[in-house]
Amino acid sequence: MAIWRLVKNSIRFAFRAKKRWITFVIIFALLSAFVTLFVSTFNGYSTEKLMAQKGFYIKAAGTSENAGTVTEQQGNNFYEEIIALSQVEKVTLFRYFDLGDSVRIFSVEPDSRWMLLEAKPSKIVDGKYITKDNEALVSLDASITADIGNISASLSATLHKGEVLSFKKDNNELDITIVGEIEDTINAPGKFKLFVSDTTFDQIQEFYSDNSPVFCYSIAILVKGDLFKPFNHDIKNNIETLSPQSSIIWINPDDPSETSEYGVWAEPIVPDARASEKQRLTDFLYFFVGILGGMILVLLYNALIVWFRKREIAVLRAMGYKKREIRINLLGESLTISLLGFIIGLSAMLIYFWTQGLTFTNQVITPLTLLISFGIVVGLSIPGLLISSVSFTRVNPILLFKAR
C-alpha cells in the first residue's frame, strides 16, 4: 500500500514536471529511435533488403519476346529439389503465361510479396499489394490494346486501381479487382502485365488451358538462419552452400547436364557474402555504439535526476523517508520518463517508416530487438539509478536550512 503510494507519487513527479522533464522525454525518444536503428531493426533488415541478407533469386532466361524457356514442370522439378535441402527455409516459384499477344499474367504469393524483385511492394506506385485471391496488381498505365478475345475491361482500356477485370468463358465468369498499380520493370515490351495469386493464376489459366502454356519466370530461395546474431554465421554458410557459384549441381542453372531437366536459367542474382558479412560487422559496431551511447545517456540522466531533485530529496530525508523509499520515488520518475520516451520514439519511427511505404515482416521487429532497445533505454534506468544512489545518500537535509 505504502509502496504503491510512493510509485504514484513518483509518477506525479514525472508528469507534472517542468520543461526540463519534457526535454528528457524527447531525449529518450530520440535515444530509443537511434538505439533501434543501431541494432539495425529497420534500416539493415527491412524486408526490402531481406533477400540480400538471407536469400537469392534466380531468373529464367529470355524474358523478352522469346520468353518461357523454363516450363512449369521443369520449374517444379527444380523447386522440389531445392526445398528438400536442409539449408533452405523457403522457396517460391513465380510462374507466368501469355494471354494472346498483349497480356502476360504472373503468379505472386501474397505471403511472400517481397520475393519477386520486379513486383515487390516498393514498386507499387498507387494502391496496395494483393492480399487475397481475385485481387490483382497491374503494370502502371499499361493498356489493353490488342484483340484479346473474351477479356473486357470494365470501364476503360487502361486499367487502374479500383477497377474490375472480368474473365468470361462459356457461362463462367471470374471478376478480379485491381488493387494496385506497379512500376513496370519486366522486360516484355508492349505487354500488359497482371499479377495475381497462385490460385487466381490457376483459375485464369484453366480458362485457357488449351492454348496457354505456363512457364517459370523465376525462383527465390530464402536460406535458414536468424537475422540479428552477430556471431552466428548460419546465413552466410547457408548462402555459400546453396550458391550457384558452388559445385552443387542442382542449383547451377547453366550446367548443360541439367538443362533437360530444369531448362535454361539466367545468371542468378547472388548476394555478396563478403559484403553481407561486412554489413553485419558494421551493424555489430553500431550495436555497440548504440549500447554504449545509451548506457552513458541513461546513467547521465539518472545522475542528473538526483542533482535536479536535490532539494526534494533533502525534504524527503528530513521528513524521515528511508533511502529505499527515496530510491523508489526517483526510480519511478526515471522509469516513467524513459518509458514514455521509448514509446514515443518507437511509435514515431514506426509511423515515419509507414508513411514512407516501407513494409516489414515479422522477422524484422523481433522480440530480441525490442528487448535490446527497451533494455538500453528503460531497463538501464535501474542500475543507473542504483549507481546514482551514491549521490543522493550524500544529499544532506541540512541544506534546507540555508536560504535559496
Binding site: R12, M319, F401, A403
Partner: protein, 248 residues
C-alpha cells in the same frame, strides 16, 4: 533530569574544522530542556549557531561533544513499535540519540519530528494537499485517513479551497501554512521551525506564529529560530544564542 522533558541536551558542543588547524565553535556547552506543549524561541544574530542547534536537536547532524536525550515514554506509539528494534532500548526512558546511527535517526524523524523551513520547501510538482500527505505516504496508514487528516489541517490553518493549488499558485503566507500542515500531519512530538517568518511580511508572520501557538497547545513542542526578537511574545521561553553560547 526532568522526567517531563521530551528532549534534553547536555553540554552539546559542535566544532567545525577550518583548514587543518583552526577550530570554530558553532555551539559550546549548550544545556537545554524541551518540554511538550511549549514554544521555545532561539534568537540570535546570523552565525550565532541557531541553525546548527536545530540540526542537532532534530537528528540531522551530530554534535562533536555532549549528549541529547530523547524521552521514549513521550515518543510516538508507532516509533515505540517500529523505530526501536532492541528490547533493552525500549525499556529505557531517556535515550541518547547521539549514539544512534543514520537508520535510527531516520526513524526518529519519521515518527517524532516535524520541520518548517524558512523557504517552505514545498515540492513544486505536488499539489498543496499532496505536499501535506506526502509526509505519511511511506507509513502504513490508509489513504482515506491521510486525506481526512490533511483536510482537517487545511481547515485549521484556514487554507480553504487551496488543496489542489500548486505551490507556485500560493502566496508566501499560504505556502508557509501548507508547510505547517505538512509538519503536523504525522502528529509529531517536536516541531522545528527555522526562521518560519523570515520570508513573510510582519502581519502574515504573526498569523503564522499564532497558528504555531495553537499547535503547541495540542501537545507538540515547537522549537523555532529567529533573529527577530519582536516575536518573543509568542514564545513560552526565549533562548538567546551568541557565538554558539546561550546568553539568556
Amino acid at each position: 533530569m526532568s522526567s517531563n522533558a521530551i528532549l534534553k541536551c547536555e553540554k552539546v558542543t559542535k566544532i567545525y574544522r577550518r583548514g587543518r588547524s583552526e577550530s570554530v565553535y558553532a555551539l559550546k556547552d549548550i544545556d537545554l530542556e524541551i518540554r511538550p506543549g511549549e514554544i521555545i524561541m532561539i534568537a540570535g544574530p546570523s552565525g550565532s549557531g541557531k541553525t546548527t542547534l536545530l540540526n542537532i536537536l532534530s537528528g540531522l547532524d551530530k554534535p562533536t561533544k555532549g549528549k541529547i536525550f530523547f524521552n521514549i515514554s513521550k515518543a510516538s506509539d508507532k516509533f515505540k513499535v517500529k523505530g526501536l528494534d532492541e528490547e533493552p532500548i525500549k525499556k529505557q526512558k531517556f535515550i541518547d540519540i547521539t549514539q544512534w546511527d543514520e537508520k535510527q535517526l531516520t526513524e526518529y524523524r519519521r515518527y517524532n519530528v516535524g520541520f518548517i523551513f524558512q523557504a517552505w520547501e514545498l515540492i513544486p510538482t505536488l499539489k498543496a494537499i499532496e505536499n501535506v500527505e506526502s509526509s505519511l505516504y511511506p507509513l502504513d496508514i490508509p489513504i482515506g485517513e491521510i486525506r481526512e487528516r490533511a483536510k482537517k489541517l487545511f481547515r485549521k490553518v484556514q487554507l480553504f479551497d487551496k488543496e489542489n493549488a500548486f505551490p507556485d499558485q500560493l502566496s508566501g503566507g499560504e505556502q508557509q501554512r501548507v508547510a505547517i500542515c505538512r509538519a503536523l500531519i504525522k502528529e509529531p512530538k517536536i516541531v522545528f521551525a527555522d526562521e518560519p517568518t523570515g520570508n513573510l511580511d510582519s502581519e502574515t508572520g504573526e498569523q503564522i506564529l499564532r497558528q504555531m501557538k495553537l499547535i503547541s497547545r495540542e501537545g507538540a513542542a515547537v522549537v523555532l529560530s529567529t533573529h527577530n526578537l519582536e516575536l518573543r511574545k509568542f514564545a513560552d521561553r526565549v533562548i538567546r544564542l551568541h557565538d554558539g553560547q546561550i546568553t539568556y
